[in-house]
């Protein structure tokens, strides 16, 4: 669905505020009499708390209150199970242990809060943390996933028999039968380690209780303002309409900000009501590393069964997934890994089993990609190994196995994160792969360039992978669109925004429906006082789910406009058109009325209206997809490894992708660039290093390396192919995570190719120069 505005690279409506320092972020909120909170977090990853003495902290001048779990009395309760396990998977085991606001008896990771100090300044609050005396009884920590499941392992949760949090087995076809018929079976162990989301803005909450109006206002760096509002209201015993949650400009989300009812999010509003003073808490960077959720660690034992000519008969993948100390986000991440474990390929037999393991580490919840990069890493690495084993070209083996275009909707016969059968709605995968190959000059590189460069002693390699991304999951989002008496249009929706350009892409959708300029459409997101139905921005769903809700609401307004204008202009609706903020008679453009005038007529101050008339040029509507839309793509990259330093330079990076109808190519490409840079981080720079005690050794941006401007390739070459999704009227699919998903698998393949002389096999991500050196040294 294209229009005058949809599909155009429109400059973003929100940028002027962001460029001039005028945009409001949570840390910019300031109120008279505001207090500041700081949290004491556990010194040990696993320790029983014998006692906590806060008397000295309370006595420090400037400290207003110090709270521990004991002070919370009945308000102390574990957080909600945000995502329950699917009920329709047979034999599923799931033990819900959700995070606690403050430690009562036992600390289960170094981020677990033990006490909170509220003081006149953050400086005083942090000093007072030093005054608190905690008597710890250190316990043996559970750090390693495999060790965690040994019978004599210490227990993260004492009331469970083991550290097993969940166990899920799903099967499509019959893998064992397929294996029996296979010519070749390949078996490997593949590792993915932990990384951080590392949004530039740390988390933060400001809460303000207004006793006269009995209203609680909370500014929160959340991706899900409406569920947070409902959760805070329930906890504090307030009506949902007494709580207003505002997610203003958010400095990047990437997943952890969707994690709800985090300790600080619960405690700051609670304390603000108790003390009757506004309170601000802003996470510092160290806290962001130890107290904000993380992702990615898994161990896969995977097997692939093939025929001699490279047709994959089946895959068997048994993996462990580290959920950290608690599992409030249910099985979203490992289910995503399962549902991406076959990638873009038509593989008839799939046995997939995972065990989720509690460890004494930070909680795991989705981080951009959310289990998908792991699934793609595993299947794509196995494809490469199979190609080598069979002496086949890696592009050819992929082509032979891609899902053909006439097979859509393609059923995967397993349950995915939306608790329904995974179905790839639409796509055309071969042209996407061929496009990436053409752009990188695949044949020429393999046949000419690489041999020439190798002869010069250079270590250059190519990576070529395909990927899918399930996006745009339900349940639903909503929007309200109104034409104001000025003729300008207002759009409100419940999702939050963290830089995805919603103020522009939603405005484009409305501008096409109502025939107005995109700059005359003002979008509000993330304020529960403006719209209070919806879930949030996650799983690459904003443009798909909220976008289509915006379209539906705008279509409702359009119908009202036409009906009223038809009466005023005494012309049938079919002969009217909406252009330049006017409704006009198509054949007689001078017979027209402005939307502003119509808006005034639709909201009369005196006189009578027809029965059943609803005031205003306004409509509210909702959209919920039948199931998620699956995007796809292919990445090709060329790297050069310096054998002296083991540094890897990305010489070229190509991505061809299909996210259905593109609303705004500038925004879509921006999403891809950002995802790719995180993917590069996940490939070579970003690894959270926990020691045997469960201490995080690199909890700073000096030690945990994000890609910098000098680490990025010169260009990211992008091709858009569009297979509109049949599941929504716009035809869009999500793109938010697309860049992050394929990069580690492409990078590993390219580096392996570059180091072909050394015969090294890469079965892990992230790598690093040291790790590459170790791998090569091990080969001798």
């Amino acid at each position: 669905m294209k229009g005058k505005w949809i599909g155009q690279p429109i400059k973003r409506n929100e940028d002027p505020r962001l460029l001039t320092g005028q945009a409001l972020y949570v840390d910019d909120v300031d109120m008279p009499g505001m207090l500041h909170a700081a949290f004491l977090r556990s010194d040990y990853a696993h320790a029983r708390i014998r006692s906590i003495d806060v008397s000295a902290a309370r006595a420090r001048p400037g400290v207003v209150a110090v709270y521990t779990a004991e002070d919370m009395a009945d308000f102390w309760r574990p957080g909600p199970l945000i995502v329950p396990p699917p009920r329709n998977v047979e034999g599923i085991v799931f033990h819900a242990r959700t995070q606690i606001p403050m430690v009562k008896d036992k600390a289960r990771h170094i981020g677990d809060p033990i006490a909170v100090v509220i003081a006149e300044s953050r400086y005083i609050a942090e000093d007072a943390l030093e005054d608190i005396v905690v008597d710890y009884e250190p316990l043996e920590p559970v750090v390693d996933m495999e060790r965690a499941l040994e019978p004599d392992a210490p227990l993260v949760h004492d009331d469970l028999d083991s550290n097993l949090a969940a166990h899920v087995v799903q099967e499509k076809g019959n893998y064992e039968a397929a294996r029996a018929k296979a010519d070749v079976v390949i078996k490997r162990r593949i590792l993915v380690d932990r990384g951080a989301a590392a949004a530039l803005e740390n988390r933060g909450v400001v809460a303000h209780w207004e006793p006269k109006s009995q209203q609680l206002t909370v500014w929160d760096t959340t991706q899900a303002p409406i569920p947070i509002r409902n959760g805070i209201a329930a906890m504090l015993g307030l009506s949902e309409h007494q709580v207003r949650v505002i997610a203003p400009f958010i400095g990047g989300g990437f997943g952890p900000k969707i994690m709800m009812s985090q300790p600080e999010e619960v405690l700051v509003p609670w304390a603000a009501m108790k003390l009757n003073r506004p309170i601000k808490w802003i996470e510092d960077r160290r806290e962001n590393f130890i107290g904000t959720t993380q992702e990615r660690a898994q161990i896969h034992d995977v097997e692939m069964a093939l025929t001699r000519d490279g047709r994959v008969l089946g895959v068997r993948d048994v993996f462990l997934h580290d959920t950290g100390a608690y599992d409030p986000y249910g099985l979203t991440v490992p289910l995503n890994t399962q549902s991406h474990g076959l990638g873009a390929y038509d593989i008839p037999n799939y046995y997939t089993e995972f065990k989720v393991v509690f460890t004494n580490k930070m909680i795991v919840t989705p981080v951009r990609g959310a289990g998908r990069p792991q699934g793609i890493f595993v299947i794509e690495r196995m494809m490469d190994l199979a190609a080598k084993e069979l002496g086949m070209d890696r592009a050819e083996i992929r082509k032979r196995n891609l899902i053909p275009p006439d097979a859509f909707p393609y059923r995967q016969e397993i349950i995915d994160q939306a608790f329904i059968e995974l179905v790839y709605d639409s796509g055309n995968y071969l042209p996407v792969l061929e496009k990436a190959m053409a752009m990188i000059g695949y044949d020429r590189f393999i046949e000419e360039e690489q041999p020439r460069l190798r002869a010069e002693g250079r270590h250059v390699g190519l990576g070529l992978v395909t990927f899918v991304e399930t996006t745009g999951v339900g349940p639903y989002e909503g929007a309200r669109v109104s034409v104001e008496s000025s003729g300008k249009v207002s759009v409100v929706t419940g999702v939050g925004t963290q830089g995805q350009g919603h103020f522009t892409s939603f405005a484009q959708i409305v501008a096409d429906q109502l025939g107005v300029d995109v700059r005359d459409v003002r979008v509000v997101t993330g304020d529960t006082a403006q719209f209070h139905w919806g879930t949030g921005t996650f799983a690459s769903r904003g443009a798909v789910v909220a976008g289509n809700a915006v379209k539906a609401a705008a279509a409702g307004v359009r119908a009202k406009i036409l009906k009223l204008a038809s009466k005023v202009l005494e012309t049938p609706e079919e002969e009217l058109e909406l252009v330049d903020g006017q409704v006009r008679v198509a054949d007689i453009p001078e017979r027209s009325i402005s939307l502003g005038e119509l808006a005034v007529m639709a909201n009369p101050l005196r006189g009578a209206v027809e029965p059943g008339t609803k005031p205003g040029l306004e409509a509210t509507d909702y959209f919920g997809p039948q199931y998620g839309a699956t995007a796809s793509g292919a990445v090709a990259m060329i790297v050069e490894v310096d054998p002296e330093t083991m540094m890897v330079e990305i010489k070229r990076f190509v991505i061809a992708h299909d996210c259905g109808t593109v609303l705004n190519p500038m925004i879509v490409e921006g999403q891809i660039h950002g995802g790719v840079s995180m993917g590069i981080g996940n490939s070579f720079y970003e690894r959270l290093v926990y020691d045997d005690n469960g201490q995080l050794l690199n909890a700073s941006l000096m030690d945990y390396l994000l890609p910098r401007s000098t680490d990025m390739p010169r260009r990211i070459e992008i091709a858009h192919l569009e297979t509109p999704s049949p599941l929504n009227p716009i035809g869009s699919k999500g793109v938010g995570e697309a860049g992050a998903i394929p990069v580690p698998s492409a990078f590993a393949q390219a580096v392996e190719d570059a180091l072909a002389d050394y015969g090294v096999e890469i079965l892990e991500t992230p790598l690093s120069p040291n790790r590459l050196f170790e791998l090569l040294s091990a080969r001798g």
């Binding site: 460029l19 320092g21 830089g499 950002g674 840079s677």
Partner: protein
């Protein structure tokens, strides 16, 4: 804590501020002068979100004490536009799509402006080098680098 009275110029305005000894330039800008465009991403000089121009040089304002700024000349993101006219770097970054969440943007704009002040025609390497201290998690940097190139070209067109 002892207060120190300092005088400095911020975005062309003379400011007289009483600051405690331990207050950083970043906190003084955000809390005393309510110039909240400058962002705090790490308080440790690692992310560059708080970059401002101090006496012509880009600095991490979280690593400078306010008392060190007596007599200094400071430019923050709020001071880049003049008389409603955006700085060429601000214009170019919108054109190129170099803004996403906007949190790193003030620091990026300041580092870019400082670069163009000392080198009106930087090459790709010089731009990347000038931005190496500014972390961005959303954009992958390439659009920003293109924006700095475009801003340099705009300026040279105006100059010629």
């Amino acid at each position: 804590m002892a207060l120190h009275r300092i005088t400095l110029t911020v975005n062309g305005e003379t400011e007289l501020v009483d600051v405690p000894s331990n207050m950083t330039l970043l906190r003084m800008l955000r809390e005393k002068l309510v110039l909240t465009g400058t962002k705090n991403g790490c308080s440790a000089g690692e992310c560059g979100a708080c970059t401002v121009i101090m006496n012509g040089e880009p600095v991490n304002s979280c690593m400078v004490l306010a008392v060190e700024c007596d007599g200094a000349e400071i430019t923050t993101v709020e001071g880049l536009a003049h008389d409603g006219q955006l700085d060429p770097v601000q214009e170019a970054i919108v054109e190129q799509g170099g803004v996403q969440c906007g949190f790193c943007t003030p620091g990026i704009l300041i580092s870019s402006r400082a670069l163009l002040n000392r080198n009106p025609n930087p090459g790709d390497y010089e731009i990347r080098d000038a931005l190496v201290g500014n972390l961005c998690r959303c954009t992958g940097y390439l659009r920003i680098i293109d924006a700095v190139k475009e801003a340099a070209q705009r300026r040279s067109v105006v100059a010629s």
